[in-house]
Amino acid sequence: MKKWFSGIAATVLLTSGLLAGCSGKTDDKAGQGAGNAGTSAPAASKEAPKAEKVKLTIGSWRTEDVDAYAKIIQEFNKTNPNIEVEFKPTKNTEYNTQLNVALQSGSGPDIIHLRPYAAGAQLADAGYLEPLDSIKGLSSFPKETLLAATGSNGKVYGVPTVFSATEIFYNKKIFQKYNLQEPKTWDELMQICETLKKNKVTPFAFGSKEGWILSLTQGALGPAFYGGTDFMNKVVSGQTNFKSPEFISSIKMMKDLTPYFPDNFVGIGMDDMRNLFVTEQAAMMVMGDWEIAVMRKANPDLQMDVFPVPPKTAGGKATVTTWVDGSFAVNAKSPHKAEAMKFMDFLTTKEAGTVIVNNLLKPSTIAGIQAQDPLVAKISKYADTQSTPYMMVVYFAGGNPTTKGTLENTMQGMYQNMLTPEQVADKVQQSADTWFKPKK
């Protein structure tokens, strides 16, 4: 009978011992701070006697860029051989959840790939990031660029590395076949669409299933209708708002493009859009530069090129829409802040800029860096000379739900024929009214 009692005791002990055993093993990790350092901590301490290697982790949402970052880290290690850096991305849709949960409980990666503008500032304001006052290289960055990683106290918390730029991609082969040229005005663009449609080629690979595509496309094409940067400055300073006829006309234009979208476009998401474009079923796609690498991988024979969005009137300026895609910040709870700062320093150098441009295939935030890839070089040139900011991302990604999200959501409603362009504009303004204060 005693045996059975000790049996129970053993069971309880076993259970608690199992938990205790696990926690005992990991306690030292927790002690070191970054829960995310996970296995890396014991690994690092094992190597400790040999060389004083420190291991940093980078959290990011760019699962597609693992190889590119390996090259960037390699460049970093040329000057910092004792800092091991691991790039650990999480799927785009899960990154925010995982990062927020980790930061709230005081852990997370040493280096954080920061979403640009409002979302990044939120992390800075919550005190999760280390200010980058000591990073000298940042002084040469223009203020608008640094805005992407500036907290509400005016301090800079991240190093922006690349721009994103949206323009119109087109299939050169299809354009040649129907004898089409890069358009110089909006009317020419519409004529191209007509010609393509007559020949049973879908003019635009586009779909409204995923909301972000809608604000992205409106952000790229819209400036031609609402008057680009000038209009944006007026909205930001409070001289006009989204209910103005200019903005409504940009939403109406989106609706008027419907005949040039593929069948069932309301059910089409990014993957299907890309498929339509790379399989040459659609001739054009309004898209960001980050898709270049993906599309080349999907169809290496695809002959594509880009043109900026043509102006509404002849003589106007064609535009590409740009914004900082993300920046790198240091986790305030990182046990290796000094090393992480070295990485920040590195990111502001020309050497880093060059490796980044040539591996990520995106325009650099550092002026005067030449891309090897002709397409990237072309986009970089546009981004330097005729860009307009992505208004929704740069200034209107605040509020809950965000004003940007409201635009996406209501445009989805518009394509389902449930809202008119005017109603879309109304709701967008309503959302902005809940939080946005004009900057005079």
């Binding site: 992390l123 089409i268 605040g398 409603g413």
Partner: protein, 309 residues
Amino acid sequence: MKKSTGAIGWRKGAVHLFPLPALVVYVLFVVYPIAAAFGYSLFDWKGLVRGNFIGLGNFVSLFTREPFNHLFWNAFGHNLYYFAIEMVVQNGLAFLFAWLVYTKLKGSGFLKVAYFIPRLLSVIIVGFLWKLILNPNNGVLNVLLKKVGLASWAKPWLGDTHTALTSITLVNSWYGVGFTMLIFLAGLQAISGEVLEAAKIDGVRGFRLIRTMVLPMMIQSVIIVTVFTFIHAFEAFELIFAMEGSQGEPYNSTDTLAIFFYRIAFGGSSGGDSVAIGLGSALAVILFLIIASVSALFLYLTRNREVQH
């Protein structure tokens, strides 16, 4: 202490150790986190930082502030719809299949296995698989419809506000029908065959037999299935997340309370959205109250039934 069969003193005490490990694990990892989340709902949060105690302020905003109030009822309606479709389609079919298997069709062993197989997949896998099948251009469903001359039936299933939520609930029914069928089957098999034979001899057949004899006798299974379906419908998250993301797209037509929670508590999937932990936690509390009160009611009904037996 009414009954402890001849136990000696120390053993009496030792017996209380029986539920202890389970209780500790359960309280620590289920009860505590949810209680802590309840606590969050009473504070003002600035992004990720906890601010002042504001009592029921978050609850008030949830029901009075645009667009939250509107989104809440929108999502709530979708949860109800989810429940209704699952009750009718999934559980209706499950009962039909259970009855067919029970009547010993040829190959009923195979049928049982076939109905159950989808349940073996991970929900996230089910979501991705059906997303491919329902793809508007290359998906098998639309291609098949076109092949059999029903091209006009081909739709952007997941992109049209009229079909998106229904498509998802039907996929959910596909996934869940086998499990429910098994519960019904067990209920059927517990009914004594003699009673049914006697009824048949009396000329009670077909639907009347099912309605007047079979269903009342397996009311236990029906209640269990209803409770499970209700809980499941109000927790609906993973499948929608896999198929439509966290925005309840298109145009809020697939938004449910759990998706809405995820979006406001974690800031959506596409990146830019801000986070409202207080509001999210308030929503969590309400969701819990809905699920707990309704299922407690059902469980209470079950208890009554047991007494009646």
